[in-house]
């Protein structure tokens, strides 16, 4: 499918949506760059679907602006926005064949019959379903229905494709395959994708940008690696992957910033955005960034005692009891330099830049 126009981005500015007393969206602003794969990630009830429906035009926000191509589209009915949409559960029309479903948007636009046939064929070939054109949706598997929904949403060459949990109804291995396919499709078409999911792995693996939504607010947005490496809050650190948390106070010992927790002083990376000395902070450390050595009685590192471990093939997850609480450590199997044994004395090490100060929003 060739693009005739440059894809449009979407700017969301201070959008508010209230249902009775509760805010579904409170003051959401988000810049979705043209051609990006942006994921709205959040737990259920966080407002991510309301935000997507506001972009699609099915929900009318109470305040704020939504800009596409520099125009405010907030009052525009959904059919005028020319956004493709893949619904949760696909919503394929049961009375139309696969080809009929895909042709729907083109027939509405009164395209000549030859053009409709040609474009339907191209769209179905794009999702490798050309051979099923005459089937009805109920005769297709879940994965095939999902592809028909994609073809139907793409056939009229929208500039923006909105996807509402498109993979949630599929089983795990199929979901992984379709993640690759969606990503390849995005790269190939160059459209703006706005993708809603509650699955953090999906979000991390496909997106250029993730906006984490909680309680009707964008808590943090950015590239997947930025969010994973530098989560701003406790919620993000625990929602995207796992983390160990150390609570302590900032100290400015010898000009190098550090966190004092119990008897331990944990170095912080210089230049990080660190609160003033004496303030309470939470330090988040990813399990895979911690190295483990066998405790020889003295030396650097946080001493602890192995309480449990779990062999996962590619990695081993260890639980280590320390006087700063229990730590989870994930070691690549080929790097684990010791034979795990319950009660074994260990020392945990991590470089200063492995730690990240997070805001407490538990």
């Amino acid at each position: 499918m060739t693009e005739t126009q440059a894809p449009s981005g979407v700017m969301i500015q201070r959008v508010v949506k209230q249902y009775g007393e509760t805010y579904a969206l409170k003051d959401v602003s988000l810049d979705i760059p043209a051609g990006s794969f942006t994921t709205l990630l959040g737990p259920s009830g966080s407002g991510k679907t309301t935000l997507l429906m506001s972009i699609a035009g099915f929900t009318r926000p109470d305040a704020g602006r939504i800009l596409a191509n520099g125009r405010d589209i907030i009052a525009m009915p959904p059919e005028k926005r020319e956004f493709g949409m893949v619904f949760q559960g696909y919503a394929l029309f049961p009375h139309l064949t696969v080809a009929g479903n895909v042709a729907f948007a083109l027939k509405l636009r009164r395209r000549p019959r030859a053009e409709v046939q040609e474009r339907v064929k191209r769209a179905l070939d794009l999702v490798q379903l050309g051979h099923l054109a005459d089937r009805y949706p109920r005769q297709l598997s879940g994965g095939q229905q999902q592809r028909v929904a994609l073809a139907r949403a793409l056939v009229f060459e929208p500039q923006v494709l909105l996807l509402d949990e498109p993979l949630s109804a599929l089983d795990k291995s199929l979901r992984a395959d379709l993640q690759w396919e969606l990503k390849a499709l995005h790269a190939r078409l160059g459209l703006t994708f706005v993708y809603v999911t509650h699955d953090q792995e999906e979000a991390l693996s496909m997106s250029d940008q993730i906006a984490i939504i909680r309680g009707g607010e964008v808590v943090q947005s950015g590239a997947p690696s930025a969010l994973y490496e530098r989560p701003k809050t406790h919620f993000i650190a625990s929602f995207l992957g796992r983390s160990n948390y150390v609570e302590g106070r900032v100290s400015g010992r010898n000009g190098t910033p550090a966190v004092v927790a119990g008897p331990h002083v944990l170095d912080l990376p210089p230049g990080a955005d660190i609160p003033a000395e004496g303030n309470p902070v939470i330090l988040a450390i990813r399990p895979e960034k911690i190295a483990v050595t066998v405790d020889s009685g003295s030396g650097p590192g946080l001493p602890g005692c192995l309480t449990a471990w779990s062999y996962l093939g590619a990695s081993v997850t260890c639980r280590v009891a320390t006087d700063l609480g229990e730590f989870h450590v994930q070691l690549p199997t080929w790097q684990a330099a010791f034979e795990p044994r319950e009660g074994q004395a260990l020392r945990l090490h991590w470089p200063p830049d492995a730690g990240c100060i997070v805001r407490d929003d538990r």
């Binding site: 099915f58 949409m85 619904f87 919503a91 948007a105 509405l108 949706p137 909105l162």
Partner: protein, 292 residues
């Protein structure tokens, strides 16, 4: 049942047949009642239609040739088609509104529809007469406010008959239509809108085709009902608009042309059965759409 000797003692009955015997015994009473009060009279009606006044199919041929019968049948047909169509249209609007209303409104609206089941057809016909007769409430009010000089003839004509029939049949159109509309996924219309359809376009291309099975089955149901209307045309038609049920009663009770009356009744039965068979197929057809 574990007592083997008892089973063996039952004369010539293997184990499986015992339950069958129980089932038949239970069915015996209803079968007897139906035989005496339903099947026997029905067979009598069929027999009379081919034996009186002379044996043969003369009565059935008369249906197509006798001009008073043809007049009654054509009146019946057009009144049934018009009243069924109006009931279906109004029922569709009502069902659509109820299905799309929010929780509490939905129950109140449904209650309002079902309320009319509690009022007998006779009382309703008299109520319409009280309202619409020449010196009824509606005419008097219209005259009092000076909108009309002479009373309008609302009843004793086809209009009155159709009004009364539509009033009775609307709930029978609403219920099957609602049952069908509830199976239509609420995301289909937004999906059509997202693909570029206007609100009406989404209705026309998606909702209406998906509600077609409901529309057809409700239509047949209401039409079958309309054929058998007796009290409403008799009272609101005022003897001028005679429909087939009233005509049959007239043949049997007044002119004592039993052969003619029973032949007409049997023909109506045949039409209704045919429609019911078609209806049965439509309902199955609707199930096909269930697994979306």
């Amino acid at each position: 049942m574990s007592d083997a000797s008892q089973i063996a003692a039952a004369p010539n009955l293997p184990r499986m047949d015992r339950t069958q015997v129980t089932v038949w015994a239970m069915a015996l009473l209803p079968i007897a009642v139906l035989s005496v009060f339903y099947f026997y009279p029905l067979i009598r009606v069929l027999l009379i239609s081919v034996t009186e006044p002379t044996p043969g199919f003369g009565n059935y041929i008369d249906i197509f040739t006798s001009s008073p019968v043809r007049k009654v049948l054509s009146t019946t047909l057009w009144i049934c088609v018009v009243s069924s169509s109006i009931s279906l249209m109004l029922g569709y609007l009502l069902a659509y509104a109820i299905v799309h209303a929010t929780g509490r409104w939905q129950s109140w609206m449904l209650l309002a529809v079902l309320l009319s089941f509690w009022v007998s057809i006779l009382i309703r016909a008299f109520a319409w007469i009280a309202l619409l007769q020449t010196r009824g409430m509606v005419n008097e009010t219209l005259q009092a406010i000076g909108l009309i000089d002479d009373p309008i003839r609302f009843i004793r004509n086809p209009f009155g008959v159709i009004l009364g029939m539509v009033h009775y049949m609307i709930p029978y159109a609403v219920l099957p239509l609602m049952a069908n509309m509830r199976t239509i996924d609420t995301r289909y219309v937004p999906a059509a809108r997202g693909l570029g359809a206007s609100p009406f376009g989404a209705f026309w291309r998606v909702f209406l085709p998906l509600s077609l099975p409901g529309l057809i089955s409700a239509g047949i149901l209401v039409f079958i009902f309309s054929i058998g209307f007796y009290i409403t045309p008799a009272l609101l038609g005022g003897g001028r608009t005679t429909m087939v049920a009233e005509y049959i009663a007239l043949q049997v009770n007044e002119t004592l042309a039993w052969g003619q009356g029973t032949a007409l009744a049997s023909s109506m039965l045949f039409v209704v059965f045919t429609l019911l068979i078609v209806l049965g197929r439509i309902v199955k057809f609707r199930n096909m759409f269930g697994a979306a």
